[in-house]
């Protein structure tokens, strides 16, 4: 029996392939049900005009009960957006990736949320604790307990 996670991801992938991604989001790689990559850019007027970022999703076997581990790719010359909720190692402080994850959300829903997070950014700056966090950050951002509040990570 295919696991719930594989069935759910197969369904999401099928929808992406038949219906396409929302504007500004493109599937880069989805060879298995362990890790997918997307490019993401903010359309229209924003501080990130012309910048294209790569998002990495990693799924465990409990997806969608457990949230995917989502981060920006910062290898191979790729960078993470300079944003108050995005660390320079690509980790993202967003409540829907942690405590407020719900299995109703999907990979595309996460992409859209992050796209709008970038689009609404008022000032390009790193989180105030960027250096300290990046120095000791675990490889998997899900191992970090972010404290979410509106303004600072």
């Amino acid at each position: 029996m295919a696991s719930i996670s594989a069935r759910r991801l197969a369904k999401e992938l099928h929808e992406i392939q038949t219906e396409g991604c929302p504007v500004g989001i493109n599937l880069l790689q989805a060879d298995d049900f362990a890790a997918w990559q997307f490019t993401i850019e903010v359309m229209g007027e924003s501080l990130y005009q012309g910048e294209v970022f790569t998002l990495l999703f990693r799924f465990d076997k409990h997806y969608p009960i457990s949230s995917p581990a989502v981060q920006f790719v910062v290898t191979d010359g790729k960078t993470s957006p300079v944003h108050p909720h995005v660390y320079s190692n690509g980790h993202i402080c967003a409540s829907i990736l942690g405590n407020e994850w719900s299995p109703v959300l999907s990979v595309i829903a996460v992409c859209l949320t992050l796209q709008s997070m970038l689009a609404s950014c008022k000032k390009k700056e790193r989180p105030p604790d960027n250096d300290r966090y990046v120095r000791h950050a675990p490889d998997n951002p899900k191992k970090t307990q972010f404290h979410y509040d509106g303004n600072s990570p």
Binding site: I4, R8, P64, N99, V104, H136, P138, K143, T144, Q145
Partner: protein, 367 residues
């Protein structure tokens, strides 16, 4: 109480104390008046008259020995060797062992850690050790020295594996932490980070009782539920599945339906509706979502005023949410130390009473 209050030292008991002020300071245990406030670190009375005795056991050599044993910094003062068995016990197992010798005035003492199990098939329990104790001479090698060390090492490699886990966890050299102790700056930083971030609010899982009481429907031809989707797996409910579990539909109080096999794992991690976040159990404050409004009219719409998290007139709900969140252990803790998660207290009781994880030398072992 403040930890910074200076400790006192009672010279009559020879112990640290918090004195009674009656009104002159007196030791809380012996009521002696020969007490001294320890506010000057350079003149610590604890060392007075009790110089550390280092020559007797050569305790300073134990530290490098242990370090070499755990591979922290292999020391050349000790020979490491691998042996198939210990002297006199021709066993065929080839467990690695570490042997080292300590020379002092009384001669040479040789310790062997690890190696084959010479104590029999399984590690003896602590009570068996105690039973040997009574008639025996104090110098009985059965309970001290190398055999005790071997007993401990046998436990490490023993079938229970439980001590092994504890050690693997504790000696996680990669994070520089062992229990409550930290060995380096990085580990301390991690703990500080963890403390600063530990006010992140974790979702509270639904209780077994809540989950049991949820209404279940076995799908039948013509059921209106067949028109709906399960929001977790995103599949429409269907009679055409081989898996009978997928024909059981659970409806949450907010009327949202799910496959039983889809919603139960979620409720065990968060007692909320995945669709509308309706709370089956009060959630920590940050989830500024509608509280568990008892909307029995079947009306899915809830009052727009429910932004406030814990209704003021419901202290029990507030307590429950406080208690609930403090009872929950992190599933993913900071610092790459995720293996240290603990089972919730009730679960832990279950395992120990079941006896499946019998730890030799545990409390329940003593009769």
């Amino acid at each position: 109480m403040s930890q910074r209050e200076p400790l006192w030292y009672c010279h009559e008991c020879g112990a640290e104390t918090r004195p009674l002020m009656i009104p002159d300071p007196a030791c809380a245990s012996c009521h002696g008046s020969f007490v001294e406030k320890m506010d000057n670190p350079s003149d610590d009375p604890r060392g007075f008259g009790h110089p550390l005795d280092t020559e007797d056991l050569g305790s300073d050599v134990y530290i490098p020995a242990l370090q070499s044993l755990f591979g922290i910094s292999p020391s050349r003062n000790f020979e490491r060797e691998h042996r198939g068995s210990l002297g006199g016990h021709p066993e065929t197992g080839s467990a690695p062992s570490v042997t080292f010798s300590i020379r002092n005035d009384n001669g040479v003492r040789t310790y062997t850690f690890g190696g084959s199990n010479t104590l029999g098939g399984r590690p003896p329990t602590m009570s068996e050790f105690n039973r040997r104790g009574p008639g025996a001479d104090r110098l009985d090698p059965g309970i001290n020295g190398s055999l005790m060390a071997q007993y401990l090492m046998t436990l490490l490699g023993g079938p229970t594996g439980s001590l092994n886990e504890i050690f693997a966890r504790g000696f996680g050299a990669e994070n520089g932490r062992m229990g409550d102790y930290v060995f380096n700056q990085e580990a301390l930083d991690q703990i500080i980070t963890q403390l600063m971030e530990s006010n992140a609010h974790h979702p509270v899982p639904a209780t077994e009782a809540i989950m049991e009481k949820l209404p279940r429907e076995v799908l039948e031809i013509g059921s209106p539920t067949l028109q709906k989707d399960c929001a977790v797996c995103k599949e429409q409910f269907s009679l055409e599945t081989e898996d009978p579990e997928e024909q059981v539909v659970v409806s949450l109080p907010c009327t949202h339906p799910f496959h039983e096999s889809c919603i139960m794992p979620w409720l065990k991690s968060s007692g909320t509706c995945p669709v509308c976040r309706h709370q089956l159990i009060p959630q920590p404050e940050h989830h500024s979502q509608p509280g568990p409004s008892q909307n029995t009219s079947g009306n899915d719409r809830r009052s727009p005023s429910s932004r406030s998290r814990s209704p003021g007139g419901d202290p029990s709900g507030f307590l429950q949410s406080l208690f609930g969140s403090s009872m929950r252990f992190d599933r993913s803790s900071t610092g790459g130390n995720s293996s240290s998660s603990l089972a919730p207290p009730d679960q832990r009781n279950n395992t120990s009473s079941r006896g499946g994880n019998h730890v030799p030398g545990g409390w329940d072992d003593l009769d």
